[in-house]
Symmetry: C2
Subunit: 310 residues, 2 copies
């Protein structure tokens, strides 16, 4: 018998700075309905799917900043999405900005929550690789994500969704081979990725035309080298004057892109992911237990002081 | 001032089972001359560049088997290549089968030697990820490399060639993200890769059309994710009835293929690798010291017993 999981990637078009949660959630519910109608049992939304990508700005108004974060999930404003999941019998993963009191202090994370088809939270991931800087560094970083989020403190957890082992990654995480490998070693069969990626990097003109190549390359390699399914949802289009790439897609454990959006707007694609393909691809070239040399990889897990020159 | 290294990739067409070392070395010297004439200061030959890819066979004749290995480097038979390097003022890297007495016993490695433009050995690499099996496993492995070679015992060394830090990988190594990362963390700026890759994998018909994609994908990702140059030389063409893929190429730290062969025969391509591009690409997205989370990657360097399910 073939094990499969019909999964939907829900790309979001631009979200305005003044768009309300109610407006955004209504867009997400509409996409969840399309995903369910398409036969999906799990739907993926992008990173920061409830707000505009505000780290592009060096904001000073604390009230505005606080307004971008969720202090509970679900809240009154996001509950309609959870209710829709239960009504439609479809799970979802949602990227959002998380504000929480932990260790006696206010902390902010760039997070993604995995929700079951009963509307109950299954698990939480907090972005491990937070790029950008705390303060503007012209010519070095292109946004201020480290002003608004601290790096995640939950590692690379894997959760079970309807018998399928699921990992999550957020935006810059997808560029790091360690992220996919950690999930694979924890048994992940599918990785859900959300991202907001600017088209223009004025700091590096020589690389500017490679933005979509650099989007797909590490995700396809991550799928191939770990023989896992990868689903990736973008925030796309011209958002507050900044062009974000789309390219949302579903990638097989062979590294092949098997489904891809064709717009920069709200768009839903569905693919029935064959989970037997993972083992078939692993057998063909990636029997990790047999061929990996973990004791030879010490430098990868060593702190920089021990690792020497980087 | 721009730092650069003009590098040549010397793809080898098929090598017959009965081809003598003298015949093969003459082919390599001819390619070394073309590389030098093209302005290269370093030339790369494939894995097992002196012999046919004999691990395709379950050989029983010990004399034939021994004949595929080098017991010294250079030997009388391979010295013409070293002499040519000195004469042409060009270094080279050469994949070969190494037989050595170590720890009081005969050992065999799938190796690559790096040689300076004075014909002196700079360093040695022994293939770390040896695929295949020790005895035939129909439907599981496609060759018997582990019958003929034990996995390398020298780690992932980096050597200096004319001021450029060089790492080496061999064939299956190039599919593992850990290999590139280990070299990058040791300071490599360029990775030299040799391979013999069969076109047909009858065990996995669903993946058969992806052989070239699976060749380039992990090498391009390795270059991009580690912002290093990658040069890759294939043994190509119909060798003793087995089709080997070509696709030898040179890949920039952006992940772009900047030079590629257009044949399955002896062919030389040259590219002036701009070594300032490494830092430019790193700055744009891979400041490892700033953004990596090594303490969160413990599982990658943990032995399977500790790593749990794989």
């Amino acid at each position: 018998m073939t094990r499969s999981l019909p999964v939907a990637v829900c790309q979001c078009g631009p979200i305005r700075r003044d768009e309300t949660r109610a407006e955004v959630v209504a867009r997400l519910v509409a996409m969840l309905e399309r995903a369910a109608a398409g036969g999906a049992r799990l739907a993926l939304f992008p990173e920061m799917a409830l707000t505009t990508f505000f780290p592009r700005w060096d904001l000073e108004d604390d009230a505005e900043i606080a307004g971008y974060y969720e202090t509970e999930m679900p809240s009154a404003e996001t509950r309609p999405l959870f209710d829709a999941a239960r009504r439609l019998k479809i799970g979802f993963a949602l990227g959002y900005c998380e504000a929480v009191i932990e260790e006696g202090r206010a902390r902010r994370f760039n997070s993604m929550v995995l929700v079951g088809d009963d509307g109950a939270v299954i698990g939480l991931y907090r972005k491990m690789h937070v790029p950008g800087s705390e303060t503007p560094e012209p010519g070095v970083t292109v946004h201020l994500e480290r002003k608004y989020f601290e790096p995640g403190n939950l590692g690379f957890p894997v959760f079970e969704f309807q018998g399928v082992r699921i990992g999550m990654l957020i935006c810059n995480d997808r560029r790091w081979p360690e992220a996919y490998r950690m999930l694979r070693l924890a048994g992940a069969e599918m990785v859900l990725i959300g991202y907001n990626t600017p088209l223009l990097l004025t700091e590096t003109p020589r690389l500017a035309h490679l933005r979509m190549f650099h989007n797909h390359l590490p995700m396809q390699a991550g799928a191939y080298q770990n023989t896992m399914w990868v689903a990736a949802a973008a925030k796309a289009g011209l958002e507050e004057g900044q062009a974000l790439i789309g390219g949302s897609c579903i990638i097989a454990p062979s590294g092949e892109i098997v489904a891809q959006v064709a717009s920069l707007e709200d768009e839903v694609i569905v693919h029935h992911a064959d989970l037997d393909m993972n083992a078939e691809c692993a057998r063909a070239g990636f029997d990790l237990a047999r061929y990996r040399r973990p004791s030879e990889y010490a430098l990868i897990a060593a702190e920089p002081a021990a690792a020497g020159r980087e």
